[in-house]
Subunit: 137 residues, 4 copies
């Protein structure tokens, strides 16, 4: 177990596409993909969001950084956050949608929606190129 | 709009850490981070999972790849999947947890849990190094 | 345990107001009401909906009446359905809203919304009195 | 509209069985019951819980009785609470389970679980008869 934790400390990052591939392979090898219909995965996702909520349910308002949480509560939270992500990535995958692509489009829409129409032309010239470089790199 | 779509087609990938940084910056610049308490973000996440479910609610069982879905339904689904991810990444962030790290640990646990104890020593020698290279690169 | 089950077979009905009173009393006696803030109860509700979803998550489409479900699965489902209802009633209560009242108003709205405007005057004269008798009795 | 509200003020209560019958009849008359498979209704329920959560999502901690909420926010909340209940009752119904029965059993279990084993015999003689009268009337 200690080895695993140590390994995880060194892990810096993972991309959505890598994650998608790994999870698909993981399910395929184990023969789980037969159960991975869109609505099955959606309900599994809802289940995990429920478990996530249970961690927060009796705590009243919670401060950023969870200053007073026990180590066990934090570890439990880590588990549930991961579970939600895993099912989300798999749900997008079986629907034939690429989450990484969706996001950049979504992000552009958010950027646009939070700007008044007067600012938009300015943004298109000034802010967007920088953004496109970031996102389309 | 067409430009945005075109751009999004070229986008290949995004990492969880990049996403985290961008979303944090996005919220900070707009002064939204004052609303981003853990439980506010959690409820926002639940709200988006609800919207995701509404897309699937009257459809009966849905085939992989969504073969008979309209373009509008697919686009709506893309939106909601992205929204769930955005709030999930932000929730992990305000809790001080790094989703990318959690995942690799989680993945190792899943790998371990699906293997019998006899196979585990074998795995540790054979499969894990490859896995550690993948995850800890 | 057998006694309880026997009792429950004889139980015919419970009203929303009775349920509300009993649950409030139940929480008060145990000192639980200090934890029953609106958002705590909401997250508890989400948690139970998650547990409800987990029962259905790997089953594919499920037929009405659950013909092929085991006794244990049905019992588990009963538990979770009840839990959702208990938290829902308590959430409405701590918000100062009376679920029984809301429902009749909601029902009238649904009735109205599913009727074309040409039918509405007819309904008002013909159907509504019967309905009002039913609901306002 | 005013008439409906006035009516709703007079409404005192509704039982779970009445509600079940009315909703089943409501769906049957409109031909909606063909869409009311267990998983369709479950996802509809999740959708409504999402809408409920959205009302609370940016509010931080909320006091009992919602003292500072606008009339519109309260009305919206009433709507969503009702919607959750309607789908919950219908979900139990299409699963062939009677929510009113489940509850009393559940309630007895809760009662039992919150009592130590030493107190249980006492309760069975003292508290339970009163409870059974209430529940099995």
């Amino acid at each position: 177990m200690e080895n695993y934790r140590e390994c995880s400390k060194k892990v810096k990052d993972v991309s959505l596409q890598e994650l998608r591939h790994r999870l698909a392979e993981f399910a395929r090898v184990r023969g789980w993909d037969q159960y991975h219909s869109p609505r099955n995965l959606l309900l599994a996702l809802v289940g995990e969001v429920g478990e996530l909520s249970e961690i927060f349910q009796w705590k009243g308002e919670v401060e950023k950084g969870l200053p007073n949480w026990s180590h066990d509560d934090k570890e439990h939270l880590e588990e549930e956050l991961s579970d939600v992500l895993l099912y989300l990535v798999q749900l997008a995958d079986v629907c034939g949608l690429i989450l990484a692509k969706l996001l950049s489009l979504k992000y552009l829409k958010m950027l646009r929606n939070t700007l008044s129409s007067t600012l938009l032309p300015l943004l298109r010239n000034y802010y967007l190129p920088e953004f496109i470089i970031l996102m389309c790199a």
